[in-house]
Amino acid sequence: MANCILEAKSISKYFYDPVKFKVLTDISFRVNKGDFVSVTGKSGCGKSTLLYILSTLDTDYEGDLLIDDETMRGKKEAQLARTRNEKIGFVFQFHYLLNEFTVLKNVMLPGLKLNRLSALEVEHKAIEKLKMLGIEHLATKKANLISGGEKQRVAIARAMINDPHIIMGDEPTGNLDMKNAEIVFDIFKKLAEEFNQTLLIVTHDLDFAKRTHRIIELEDGKLK
């Protein structure tokens, strides 16, 4: 058995507003090192909700979540923040770059927060990641002055800065045109195949999902 990065153990989740409603029912699966997994399902089936739980951002659920064989239940907010910083990289539908900073600084921020390497080393690493994604020429630009496709690639570089165990994507291509979506998908594929990077991508785009290594399909909050 390949080493397990992430394991969901019968996760259930309720929404309480406006009425009590079960969004997720008894979800269990594992993600192993190097997996390129996509989570698909119809709009409103709970796939984003599942991702927020898996990423430790949402702590209000039943069941158990193990990252790196370590349970996330009962951990304090600061410990969860530390785990996210160290082990999880995020790419959202919206890029969420900080407009006050340059592209380079945006990529560096999680690395500086982790504080494992010196600022100079983090900068070096950030440039390396930008190069890998073919956008190193943007490094000194302000984050609000680059195009949408470029922004999403910067966000991917930011997700990679701490060499996370897993990169999670929430509709990372949802806001992009065909061409840019293709570029982003190719990056993910390259990461998975060349760098053995574990990826968990939520998408409603079936074409996208079919090209990943494994599909987890949700229907009405249950695994199909």
């Binding site: 951002l57 600061a78 910083n85 539908q93 770059l97 900080l98 500086l112 927060k113």
Partner: protein, 419 residues
């Protein structure tokens, strides 16, 4: 917590919104400026008004009060020991105003470590003769050198030199009001008559102006020797000893001690001038209240701006939290923003406050009551600057606290889901 990184993020957020930052900082600057200027000015005035009375008031005055004897014969009698005695029409006994054994008292004061200095004095009622009318007045025989050193006598001599009453024999300094009544110019000779009927000519060498008109209409000053001569008393005749202490707060206790030791009356400055301390206290209280109100208003300005900034920066807060910044980190980012505003605004406020104080210090302020004062008085004491600096940080800290806490509680899921 990586303070350097957090400070760096806080600084970038501040600079990105530098116009708002500036407005908030100006609010703090303005309030600190007014706080410093107001307190400096108020305390300058306080010092002036206190000085008006306290500087020339001895901390302890030793004298003999004219009063009935405490030990009436009927109380001494064994026969009436157990009864309560009512005595009517008691008169002051013919005790002398002179301090007994004054040279021994002075020798004791010389040795007392707590005493900064003392000035012996003789006070006597006299009549000044102006043509056919006699004007009642008081002549004070003073040790002018000690009076200048301890009680700022020189400041109140507006014309002529105070020291001249020592240099010129049979000379006198007249109160300004008294001199006007006598139509006496500098260099003139005035005639005075003592209570015993002796007549003496004295040369006017200066005018004295205390700022209290009634006082200036009766007072006059001569050397101790001259007054002893006028009154026909020997060289050890003294009616008052004015003592100045190193520590004014010890005055009441020491007054009691001296009263017992020297068998005379002793009055301390706190008893004699209680109302002045009350006045100073109230004025200080009011200026602090106004200053702190200004700061609190500035605090609300910062509170508003930070609140707005947090709504604007929801996305940034969400991603910071998603990528591993804890609630505590986010809280500190906003606290540092608030305190940065407070720090910069506060420093500028201290500088402007000092400049405003300098300007106030140059504004002409002349009044006949205060002959030595030409411009508004300002107190530059460092303590107000220190209080201003500390308060600017404290108010901005609290103004930042609530928005920062709100930012730390932002749930990234809600923000990210909303997009």
């Amino acid at each position: 917590m990586n303070l350097k990184l957090i400070t760096d993020i806080a600084r970038s957020l501040l600079l990105a919104r530098w116009k708002q930052t500036l407005v908030a900082a100006i609010g703090v600057t303005f309030s600190i400026t007014m706080f410093i200027a107001l307190l400096g000015f108020m305390n300058g005035l306080n010092d002036l008004l206190d000085g008006l009375v306290l500087n020339r008031t001895p901390h302890i005055r030793l004298y003999n009060e004219i009063k009935p004897n405490d030990h009436q014969p009927v109380n001494q009698s064994k026969d009436f020991k157990s009864s309560y005695n009512f005595i009517r029409s008691v008169k002051a006994s013919t005790n002398r105003q002179e301090l007994y054994n004054s040279s021994a008292i002075l020798a004791t004061l010389d040795k007392d470590e707590r005493v900064l200095g003392y000035a012996p004095k003789i006070t006597s009622q006299v009549f000044f003769n102006a043509g056919t009318t006699d004007i009642t007045g008081v002549i004070n025989g003073i040790d002018v050198e000690e009076e200048i050193r301890l009680f700022h006598f020189k400041d109140y001599v507006t014309s002529g030199a105070a020291i001249d009453i020592n240099r010129t024999s049979n000379s006198i300094i007249l109160g300004k009001g008294l001199a006007e009544k006598l139509l006496a110019n500098l260099g003139d000779v005035v005639q005075l008559t003592t209570a015993e009927g002796e007549r003496f000519p004295l040369k006017v060498v200066g005018y004295y102006q205390s700022g209290i008109a009634d006082y200036d209409k009766v007072q006059s000053f001569a050397s101790v020797k001259t007054v002893q001569k006028i009154m026909g008393k020997p060289g050890n005749y003294i009616t008052d000893i004015q003592v100045k202490l190193k520590d004014m707060s010890k005055a009441p206790a020491m007054a009691k001690e001296y009263s017992r030791l020297f068998q005379c009356d002793a009055e301390d400055i706190q008893t004699a001038n209680a109302q002045y301390e009350t006045g100073s206290f109230i004025r200080t209280l009011i200026s602090y209240a106004v200053g702190i109100t200004l700061l609190i208003v500035a605090g609300f300005g910062i509170f508003n701006i930070l609140n707005m900034m947090i709504y604007e920066k929801m996305d940034s807060i969400a991603i910071l939290k998603a990528t591993g910044f804890s609630g505590r980190d986010v809280k500190w980012i906003f606290l540092i923003i608030a305190m940065g505003i407070g720090f910069i605004g506060g420093i500028a406020g201290l500088v402007f406050g000092y400049l405003l104080s300098l300007i106030i210090d140059q504004v002409p302020f002349t009044t006949s009551a205060l002959p030595t004062v030409k411009t508004y008085p300002v107190n530059y004491s460092l303590i107000y600057y220190l209080i201003g600096a500390i308060f600017s940080l404290i108010t901005t800290y609290f103004a930042g606290w609530f928005p920062a806490r709100k930012a730390s509680k932002v749930d990234p899921v809600i923000i990210i889901r909303g997009k």
